[in-house]
Symmetry: C2
Subunit: 233 residues, 2 copies
């Protein structure tokens, strides 16, 4: 294999959710080998870590780091503290499932991982159309982060800055469902639900389930995930 | 006590080093109550965590979170991997003790902590005069980080952005030694050495020891820390 044919590694932030799965598969489609970072932050939906492992295996990830980081020590979110997850529909304001500075922390860790993986390319599955209104999913945040990472790393100051790719940035959930289908990914490999039932089903009615189900419905594609409740229950 | 008299909390990144101790004491002098974050990142000089605890106690810190985050899973630094710490003097280039994206990660975590502590004020002890050439100690990085944190947090987008204070930014180590003395702090509460001897002494000759000793010498102040070796050994 000539040097030109050796795949360049990309670092993938792999939560185990649908968006991170599609984002990782797009990185692979662009010819990258994959180094995946999954963060066990004490999330209520710890179930997504199983999905991250399954996706890493299905996509042939070269290196998968699962990093424990106990954000419950800070609390302040329905995903990391004893606060109920809303089930009544997606609101207009930033919901209580917002985890303080989560993507700032996760992108910073991904940058650290990339700098030790000889990788310039970082992929994150954020999108800001059909989403929960989290500020750290917006393109202006991602662009600003890239500049900060350039200024604050050896790799950046030595002239080889990181590129932060958010390939789903301008997609609707229906677009993402279509990409999932086009890329040959089984939606059930991934996990979106914030508040799984005691017997391990997706609840079907948290914001994350609602956005996902709406996307597949609009795309007229089957979501193979079994849900505990219908949206109209 | 009237509302105006309740001290506003500041979040302090407290490594246990001299700079973080002086930075924390300056925050207290400005009237803040202190919430301290110390990160146990698998550093070679784990000894600094003892100092962080001692400083927290001496300064009357209100809340002290010690967060484990195993950066050895990434490696890539003499502080987190099996790479020798240089002892021959401070070089012109970024040294192997650089930890990839460390201050980016630490400031992101401090922002998360601040957002859950109802704090707007973040203090970090970085300085870029007598330092090891780390890119993540430079003022342009700190300024860019503040903007990224504004864009990527609920607190930032709702109009109450974080202020990142780096009160030592333009100080020499001699200035910092003088501040340490003025504030009534015992230098030996803090720990700077990257590579303690097996019997727990500061080595005296790593970059961090050299910069610290030079600072106290220039300020003509006593550093109460016992060192294993003289600089001219």
């Amino acid at each position: 294999m000539s040097e030109a044919e050796i795949p360049r590694p990309a670092v993938i932030l792999l939560s185990g959710g649908l968006d991170s799965m599609v984002s990782a598969a797009l990185a692979r489609e662009r010819g990258h080998s994959l180094h995946a970072l999954t963060i066990d932050y004490g999330q209520r939906h710890i179930r997504e870590l199983q999905s991250a492992r399954a996706i890493a295996e299905k996509l042939g990830v070269e290196r998968h780091v699962e990093l424990p980081l106990d954000l419950r020590q800070f609390g302040g979110s329905a995903l990391t503290a004893d606060i109920d997850v809303p089930k009544d529909g997606v609101a207009e304001t930033i919901p209580v499932t917002y985890v303080p500075a989560r993507n700032l922390v996760f992108l910073a860790l991904t940058t650290a991982f990339a700098e030790t993986s000889a990788s310039r390319d970082i992929f994150i599955g954020v999108n800001a159309l059909d989403y929960s209104g989290y500020p750290d999913c917006r393109p202006e945040f991602i662009a600003s982060f890239a500049e900060t990472a350039r200024l604050g790393t050896k790799q950046g100051v030595e002239g080889d800055p990181f590129a932060i790719h958010a390939p789903l940035q301008n997609m609707t959930k229906a677009d993402i469902a279509r990409e999932c289908h086009r890329l040959g990914l089984d939606p059930a490999w991934s996990w979106s639900c914030y508040d799984p039932t005691p017997d391990g089903l997706a609840c079907g009615v948290c914001d994350s389930c609602r956005l996902r189900r709406k996307g597949f419905a609009e795309a007229e594609l089957v979501d193979t995930t079994p849900y505990a409740r219908d949206i109209d229950d």
